[in-house]
Symmetry: C2
Subunit: 395 residues, 2 copies
């Protein structure tokens, strides 16, 4: 085998040696419990009959009917847009990637908050960007802090950030939602300092109680927000479809920088037909209600099995963001948990510069209720064992 | 609207203002004539029943069964590989993109021949690569010329190329196929000078007569070739599925650099089921035979309507690569042709540095036989009109 001369971004990559072991309860990914996934056999019949559309390459911007459905969908988020502001992508992830391609030269600065969506951080980092990391409080990104940072960069004559990535509704992982006043402040900063906001709205419809304030994009009167969404959390992750809503100047460039021939018109047609038949609303209601129950169950079990940890009661979404007591390493705990038969994510990768090893991200979305209980029981066993070791070694 | 600070790669992009006009006969893309597309309703029924697999996010490397099917498929190309050398991608285009991500830092050199696949060139260029352009003859890339260039780079102490992109079977656009001796020579150079070859095999099965020599990857005894393929030309472009076969070290990195959550398990399952039922072989035979007829028709019509042009009789694939007489601009001709109601591609974008404006790439694959005849008639009218103008102006 020759010695390959990889790009810098690829040099350090290592395939996880972890095999999918049988018997492991997997609560580290935002999957949907399979029985909650829809039966799409009728939509399939329609899509396969439309072969001249669905089996051919489609338009780079996406199928017209799907773009129109997205216009209607985001109207309920308080976002008024036209078809030419809508781009169909392979999930919200590809929308993040394409926005990075449109805006980032190596070395450009991107504003993120800590903690935030790990995969989003990886994608941004793979473009050679530098993070400007802003802390969070219970209302999400600390926008007043951001304002001071920007003023200070400007005063020092340093390059200003080009992009900001944030999840303002049911933040992944923390579950926080940004209040209206702070949203308006953030938009003002974007206008003043000339950066574009990527608003990742993946979990927005997954609130357990009242609907959140309108989307950040709904406050945008000057084209500084690109709203990203997905059909993975409300229909089916396997469709690999999402979207970006933003100024035509931006989303058209995103389309031109697609390097994969565009999204499958076949799966796009499936989603169009599901929406047309009201199945998206039905599915959102089904998943949301199941997640509400699962969340309550997970909270009760965590309180019972790991009584010393802290977490915020989520207002929606798929996750518990759990803070461990001082001195406990989340990565140590997740490694031990795996030995006990439960795969849970440490929060390590959710911090842009790995600033903290004190959090777990626990996904209650993908497993049965009994596996959820059993998974937390196993996590509790691992927790006791790691805690006992620390007590031992400090004696 | 703010003034957006785009990345260098996005700054100059301009959306084509050309609308899809009705009445235009489109022969500028390698589409498949819709009646030749398969009926996949039975495969759809199977895929929709397997919702726990098909509607969930899938493995980054692709579904195991599809990877195994690809192992079998390339065996017929003379390529022996194992599952861990196979990566599923969103068409061969995404495989090119991912290989660039794995290997290229900005400024790295990539070897290409002129002319070659326009979209491939765009993707490589979007990574900030420099082209080392090698001429072609009737047997494809001039490998002896390449050897001299490499020796000269080495002698001057300049950085050596990291990648080579080439279509050795039924080259798009020229239709040439590289003979065995030259393939072996090319592999030797890759081993000696330490570059990796991306072998784009998209059209390999579309030969009209005898099967070509085995794939370049079939001669690779040391992991210097990554073979790229697609299900777009033999099953259905709308599936958006393709693959890369190469050393695990490379294809695993390609998987890790995917930024779109992986290919849809739903469309992957459709392809698995089509292959399982022998429909891929059936479809290849159907498309190949239809292309053979269309090609003969196109040749006869071009000889009749544009008697002064030159072209090589293709041994397969979807295209005629037409050389215009001296002094005629292909871009002028294609603009005039559009006015006459036929959309044909100039060869301009198939040259890495736009070295020539003397070629048309005519796709006979996507339209009916009557539209093919009518399209060439319209092209003939445009040709007469452009030629007459030149004659006028030189008087």
């Amino acid at each position: 085998m020759p010695e390959y001369r990889f790009a810098d971004r690829a040099e350090a990559l290592r395939q996880s040696s972890r095999k999918a072991e049988s018997g492991i309860i997997v609560v580290n990914k935002g999957k949907i419990f399979p029985p909650l996934l829809p039966d799409i056999s009728e939509e399939c019949q329609i899509a396969s009959k439309l072969s001249a559309e669905t089996l051919q390459t489609g338009p780079a911007m996406g199928l017209t009917e799907l773009r129109d459905s997205i216009v209607e969908f985001v109207a309920a988020d308080g976002v008024a847009c036209a078809r030419n502001e809508v781009l169909v992508t392979n999930g919200a992830k590809q929308a993040i990637e394409l926005a990075c391609r449109v805006f980032l030269n190596p070395g450009d600065r991107v504003i993120v908050s800590a903690p935030t969506f790990a995969t989003g951080l990886q994608i941004i980092q793979s473009h050679g960007a530098k993070f400007l990391v802003i802390p969070q409080d219970d209302d999400g990104m600390d926008v007043a802090f951001l304002e001071k940072e920007l003023a200070s960069l400007e005063a020092r004559g340093e390059p200003l950030p080009k992009l900001l990535f944030e999840i303002v509704d049911l933040n992944n992982p923390t579950g926080s939602t940004m209040p209206e006043a702070r949203r308006r402040h953030l938009i003002d900063l974007a206008k003043h300092y000339g950066f574009v906001i990527l608003e990742d709205s993946a979990y927005r419809r997954m609130h357990f109680e009242e609907a959140p304030v309108k989307a950040l994009k709904g406050f945008d009167d000057s084209g500084v927000v690109v709203m990203l969404g997905t059909f993975s959390k409300n229909l089916a992750p396997g469709m690999r479809l999402g979207w970006a809503v933003g100024a035509p100047d931006i989303v058209q460039r995103m389309a031109m920088l697609k390097a994969d021939g565009g999204s499958s018109p076949f799966t796009q047609r499936l989603v169009v037909e599901m929406i047309r038949r009201g199945r998206m609303d039905e599915q959102i209601e089904l998943v949301r209600s199941a997640m509400r129950d699962r969340c309550a169950l997970a909270i009760a079990a965590v309180r019972r099995e790991l009584p010393d940890v802290q977490f915020r009661t989520p207002e929606g979404s798929f996750y518990l963001w759990i803070r461990l007591p001082e001195g406990l390493s989340a990565r140590d705990l997740t490694a031990r948990a795996r030995e006990e038969g439960v795969g849970v994510a440490s929060g390590w990768d959710w911090f842009p510069n790995h600033e903290s090893d004190s959090f777990l991200r626990f996904a209650y979305s993908g497993v049965s209720e009994s596996d959820l209980e059993e998974g937390i029981r196993r996590l509790g066993v691992a927790y006791q064992s790691v805690t006992a070791e620390i007590a031992d070694s400090s004696r």
